[in-house]
Amino acid sequence: MTVSPRPAQASDTAAAASARAGSRRTTSAGRQIRRGWQLYVLLLLPMLYLVVFQYWPMYGVQIAFRDYNVVNGILGSEWVGLKHFQRFLDSYLFWPIIRNTIVLSTYQLVAGFPLPILLALALNYVGGAWFRRTVQTVTYAPYFISTVVIVGMLFMLLDPRNGMINLLLSQIGLGPLDFMGNPAYFKHVYVWSGVWQTLGFGAVIYLAALTSIDPTLHEAAIVDGATKLQRMRHIDLPGIAPVAIILLILSLGSMLTLGFEKVLLMQNPLNLQTAEVIDTYVYKVGLASAVPQFSYAAAIGLFRSVVGLILLVAANQVARRSTETSLW
């Protein structure tokens, strides 16, 4: 009952095909370029965009190494080398915020990565089209509600006195829990509310991937007597594996980025020790302070990017060694 997934077939055939065609395995670079010239044309506009709007502004990275001052401009600002990085490393809150960021990020990844896949699989196997469409539309809706409102609703639901969740918990005898007042709970509340908000939207990619799996595979499997679970395991999962792996690699690269608005809204004096993360720190010290500290914020951002790059490259290597899919 093993049905081989399409990608494996594709590359097998490609290799076989080129062997059959008798072409030299190592075509000269020049020939390859000339043969594929149209592809380069296709890439022209996107690359132009990248160069103009992504690479050209990168000269601004040096803000992290200068004492940047808007009036003097970038080149007119004094060069200070690693001063801002040192400042960040030396700051009192350095380890706590790094730790908090990593804890939240990892938890978010572990919880948030598999669930959209499961949702997509579940929806894929639901028979009633009406049910499926309704569930899909509704579950993708929370993505649009602004953070401010989400957090407001969250507080309401978790209210120790009147909140629905605590009322339910009291019924089962688990007593009212002080969700927002206990630093240990912060990460759970943060991550699971995030899952609630993004799950439906995140499943969309996987749904699209699932629909492009060859239905004959499923038909064959059904004939062979496979159960739905077996079909999931052997057809669907391998089918969406490439997408999943790529997304996983990308997520690892952005591990240190959490976005500050939601965290900021959920902070209070009692949970601050677990709720201060890199982004909120940069916001408070760098941008919301009396004099916006562009250089300091830039230095922290650069630090974060470098770490992210290392993680990304490492993840990519692992993926390349162990699976068929990788970014490069």
Partner: protein
């Protein structure tokens, strides 16, 4: 030249029955020249019936207006007219003073302003158009978002796209120092001397104002926006209590910490709302408010965040003092007895309001919030609305005899409200354009809408919030419709007296009056010496950078420990814990922090 017709004309102008332009055209038709129109306005006074001659208030000895030091002006010179009902006695504030156009031909100013939904389209706004007519200055408006305005402003500066004026962007002192020292912002000292009229009066009446907008290098980089809101200066430390429960329990308003504790205990145990359930919540608050700004007053002077004070000219912190510890002990005692609700440190204002608004019998006993609206819905039309039964508790007297409320002496002047840049070719025009906004009629129109339609001058006998003669009165319910006013943006001179001179409608009392009364009675008398409050400091870039980081760290920690000492997560009676707490501040850089503040203070205030 017929002065009689001229007088009539002036009267029509003041009462808003004709526009500025019409006035000028008719005056010219009557034979006045542009220069003699000015004299006409001055000479004709208020026209009509002004029993006290209408030349302005009589000079009185320097008065304390709203706790912020002011000086009643001597009788102003030329261009002294007065509103139809005259000024109330001892009035300190903006005057009526019709202006002629600033320049003969139209000049243009490029002004950056924040986006505001109430103002609507700045160029089409009714007040904009009236003011343009009056001043003959056309404005090219550049709108930046209201929130995150600074991001956009910085981007503009970086790209060299600098306007003539930044209005209502509210640059902080450190930012003014930064951009001023680099020549981007123009020093205004001489310009104000030469071209300012209303602003000079403001400086005379509020002597601190000039100092507050002067940076450490002696330059004034911005014109002030003055709003002397009396009740605001104690707002951070008001405690509210539900009076009917006191009456029910036969207890008097508590005056000491022990009495307050007894009252809270009674709230908790004696079922004052009479519904046979012990559902009363003796004391709570929302997460953003602090208990310390009220309770600590029974132990030492506490200004609230960032908790820095002046002790004999030396900058010091209050959160590591033994008196602070005593205050913490007290709050912890309250908490241990269940008198402080657990959620006080986490709940949002909405959640608090739910408690305050509880249907049926009220459950909220006391709360430390800004005003009624912070913890319940105010219904000003109902005579027996619940909010009316909440009154303030005066600052308590502690076991050591301390009883001091935190009064903000420096809140009236918002710095950075009007900045002229080096790109401005006519800085004198820019100054005059701002100066005109400090004038009474301009303020009323900017604040309340169209004269004659949204508001009008008060009549003799109509009384203001402070019980004296009112100056102006609403016609429609405030605020004016979108696009008819400037939503309190721009620069204004809203002195305490001006604010209190809004006519009160006896049939529809608002809460402004009780708020004023309570503050006057329960907090103002116990205010600290002005010399103890650390005034706003102008730091330079380096200082601001260093303190910014330490401030975040320290303030986070103080808030965190306030919560934890109060709810007992950390034991305040344990000397070891207390010492650890105090020494943590040193690790965070407290001494550097204080040193920098001291340096900034000395540079500016120690002459």
């Amino acid at each position: 030249m017929s002065t009689d017709n001229g007088q009539e004309l002036v009267q029509e102008l003041f009462e808003g029955r004709i526009t500025r332009r019409t006035f000028v055209l008719r005056a010219i038709a009557l034979g006045f020249t542009t220069s003699s129109i000015g004299t006409l306005l001055a000479a004709c006074g208020g026209g009509g019936d002004t029993p006290n001659g209408g030349t302005g208030p009589t000079a009185t000895a320097p008065a304390q207006s709203g706790g912020v030091p002011t000086t009643a002006a001597a009788t102003p010179g030329a261009a002294a007219v007065s509103p139809p009902a005259g000024y109330p006695p001892g009035y300190v504030g903006p005057r009526l003073s019709p202006k002629s156009p600033i320049t003969p031909e139209k000049t243009t100013l490029r002004v950056v302003v924040p986006q505001n939904a109430e103002v609507g389209d700045w160029s089409k706004n009714v007040f904009t158009q009236w003011y343009e007519e009056r001043t003959n200055v056309h404005v090219e408006w550049m709108v930046v978002p209201g929130e995150d305005a600074l991001t956009k402003v910085n981007a503009m500066i970086a790209s060299g796209d600098v306007p003539d004026v930044f209005m209502s962007i509210n640059f902080l002192p450190a930012q003014q120092m930064l951009y001023g020292s680099q020549g981007l912002f123009v020093p205004l000292n001489d310009l104000l001397d030469q071209h300012g009229v209303e602003i000079k009066q403001l400086f005379t009446e509020y002597p601190d104002a000039k100092n507050l907008i002067t940076a450490t290098d002696g330059n004034i980089y911005s014109m002030p926006n003055l709003n002397d809101c009396y009740h605001c200066w104690a707002g951070a430390g008001r405690m509210w209590i539900y009076k009917p429960w006191l009456d029910e329990l036969g207890m008097k308003m508590p005056e000491t910490t022990d009495e307050f504790e007894a009252v809270l205990k009674a709230f908790k145990e004696k079922d004052p709302n009479g519904n046979k359930q012990l559902d009363e919540i003796p004391l709570t608050k929302a997460v953003e408010s602090g208990f310390d700004t009220y309770f600590m007053g029974a132990f030492l002077y506490n200004p609230g965040e960032p908790w820095l004070v002046l002790a004999n000219g030396k900058v010091d912190a209050v959160f590591n003092k033994p008196e602070w510890r005593e205050g913490l002990r007290y709050m912890n005692r309250l908490y241990k007895q269940g008198l402080i609700a657990k959620e006080s440190f986490t709940q949002t204002p909405e959640q608090l309001q739910r408690i305050g608004n509880k249907q049926g019998e009220p459950v909220l006993g006391a709360t430390r919030e800004w005003y009624w609206g912070s913890f319940l819905t105010i219904d000003q039309s109902k005579a027996d609305a619940r909010w009316k039964d909440y009154v303030t508790v005066p600052i308590l007297k502690g076991p050591g005899g301390a009883q001091v409320s935190g009064w903000n002496y420096y809140g009236a002047v918002a710095p950075g409200a009007y900045v002229i840049t080096k790109a401005c070719k006519n800085p004198d025009v820019a100054v005059k354009w701002a100066d005109g906004q400090y004038e009474l009629e301009a303020i009323c129109r900017s604040y309340a809408g169209v004269l004659g339609e949204d508001w009008r001058w008060a009549e003799k006998g109509e009384l203001g919030i402070n019980g004296k003669q009112a100056l102006w009165k609403q016609i429609v319910t405030w605020p004016p419709k979108t696009g008819r006013w400037w939503a309190q943006l721009g620069v204004q001179y809203r002195s305490n007296d001006f604010r209190l001179s809004e006519a009160v409608d006896a049939a529809k009392p608002t809460f402004e009056k009780p708020l004023y009364e309570y503050t006057k009675q329960d907090y103002f008398p116990y205010r600290e010496d002005q010399a103890m409050q650390l005034p706003p400091l102008y730091m330079d870039e380096d200082q601001a950078a260093q303190t910014g980081e330490i401030a975040t760290t320290i303030n986070n920690y103080v808030s965190e420990m306030l919560a934890k000492f109060t709810n007992g997560q950390v034991d305040v009676t344990n000397d070891g814990e207390w010492n650890k707490y105090v020494s943590t501040f040193d690790e965070m850089g407290l001494s550097t922090y204080l040193q920098i503040h001291q340096a900034a203070y000395d540079a500016k205030y120690k002459q």
